[in-house]
Symmetry: C2
Subunit: 330 residues, 2 copies
Amino acid sequence: MIVIDEERIFNEIYAKKPQSVSLNGPEGILAQVQQTAINITRKFDIPAFVIADATWGSCDINESGARTLGAGIHFNIGHTVSMDTVGNTVMVDAYDDVSFDSVALKCARLLRSGIVAVVTDSQHLHQIQNVVKILQKNGIRTIIGSGKGQLNDGQVFGCEFYPATSLRDDVDSYVFLGQSNFHAAGVALSTGKPTYVLDPYFNEVREVSEFAESLRKKATLAIYKAADAKRFGIIVGLKEGQLSKVVGLKFKRELESLGKEVEMFALTDITNERLLNIRNVDAFIQVACPRISTDNRFDMPVLSTPQAQGLLRVLQGKDPQEYLMLPHWL
Amino acid sequence: MIVIDEERIFNEIYAKKPQSVSLNGPEGILAQVQQTAINITRKFDIPAFVIADATWGSCDINESGARTLGAGIHFNIGHTVSMDTVGNTVMVDAYDDVSFDSVALKCARLLRSGIVAVVTDSQHLHQIQNVVKILQKNGIRTIIGSGKGQLNDGQVFGCEFYPATSLRDDVDSYVFLGQSNFHAAGVALSTGKPTYVLDPYFNEVREVSEFAESLRKKATLAIYKAADAKRFGIIVGLKEGQLSKVVGLKFKRELESLGKEVEMFALTDITNERLLNIRNVDAFIQVACPRISTDNRFDMPVLSTPQAQGLLRVLQGKDPQEYLMLPHWL
């Protein structure tokens, strides 16, 4: 069950006495966010607006939406970062209280030996020490990578993997706590090491190497398809934490110096449907969120920033290199 | 062919010398907007970003996107209004140069008698006097309704129909210049009079009463379905020109006084897909854009502001009345 830190929210409202508040959180916990909004209105008799737009991470907290709404406090729920606030937004923890005891034991039996690094996402961060204890007690040498920037110790985002990549030379494999093949595939791709998902709901240990490899192949194919393009569209993301205008304009100059034509675009949500409205563009580069390119399906090549770096090498007659083996895909 | 008033754009750039600009326009003219962006960069050597998000009207010019991008001037193209600028955005005309001569003659022969009001959308405003002349020369008494607010004489939006509704008692029918059944159905629904589309591309005069009636029936059915709901979600739109928080909160109080439970939501794009993430809500009222409710398909009742007014009457045991026969559906 997802447990939202409502005490933190209530204390903020007691302290600041806003006339209204807004809340958002990822789709998977929206039902719990709705209940928290109901609890706020019951307790304080103020409107609590659930902003039901997507919120993909601390890069996408929708402060502009909260500002438009005139909310006195905006709470982004479920994206735990190393800071209490991001901009004017209060970042609120939402933990999953599911136990990893059984699946961690299963993992220890499966792995038997070698050194393992434990990583996880926001919802299971509080379980990480417990799992380390179980693995160690069962003979598995286990370490946790240090946090960096917004990342806590052992935490990974979909695009940022410092606590994993920093241990690359020290470990044999990674275990990811939770159900997210999405995050675990990021760990596998950024480190090139075997990565296991410890899924407490299915009580299952599964390797994600095959899934990660399928993403990598698709991403590489898109690079080579884009290399044949004459006319590029570079898309700057309009979500506040995803704006990389300077990077976009740098790619424009570099592609033009290699003889390509380039048009500049901006989009809030970069979807195949929106891109189909754009004419006479053979390939896109989007500098908003790298996972848009690796995890979604598009009718034309849509490269992320690391893929675009690979493309530039290909256009210069070089190998694209291990363009995803980076701690941060931006 | 769509002709964008590039001279206006170039003059603004000459005068203000921005470091970069942004442009947007409705999907149907996006290819032309792309070409204008290319022309700007060729002429002034500055980045011209095409914001490819939807822009449904002067209520949805995406100034916040342009601000995020740091564009020196934002041009919204193709939504002609009675003002040159809306907020900080320069509103640029985009006219369709297709001729109405042939279809207007056809219309005169079809109608034969009665008094007709001519209305149209942004793209064909410049043709309205020419069509009036042809109709009158062929014996049809023709008038043009006065503009109001953002509307020019004879102009209608998807949600606002003053030049049509103001003539309701004076005319027998309306003719809409263009291809848009969407706008013409709005005229038919807001006036209750026969409305004909003068489609210059198909050289066809078609009545939209049946289509309009199908929209009205669907809208009324949604009202009666919503009347059975226990728990309502009220959605405030986050597009700058669609924010109606006060109206949303008014509906909350009114529904609660009638024994309903109400949760508050906010969304940028109100789609069936986004609403499916929300749990335990039996019916929605959205106060963003009335056409979202009348023209889209949802799995649950999603009422617009005029439909919600009808709902309140139904909940009080009354008839919903002619809830769409209004000059402005807000």
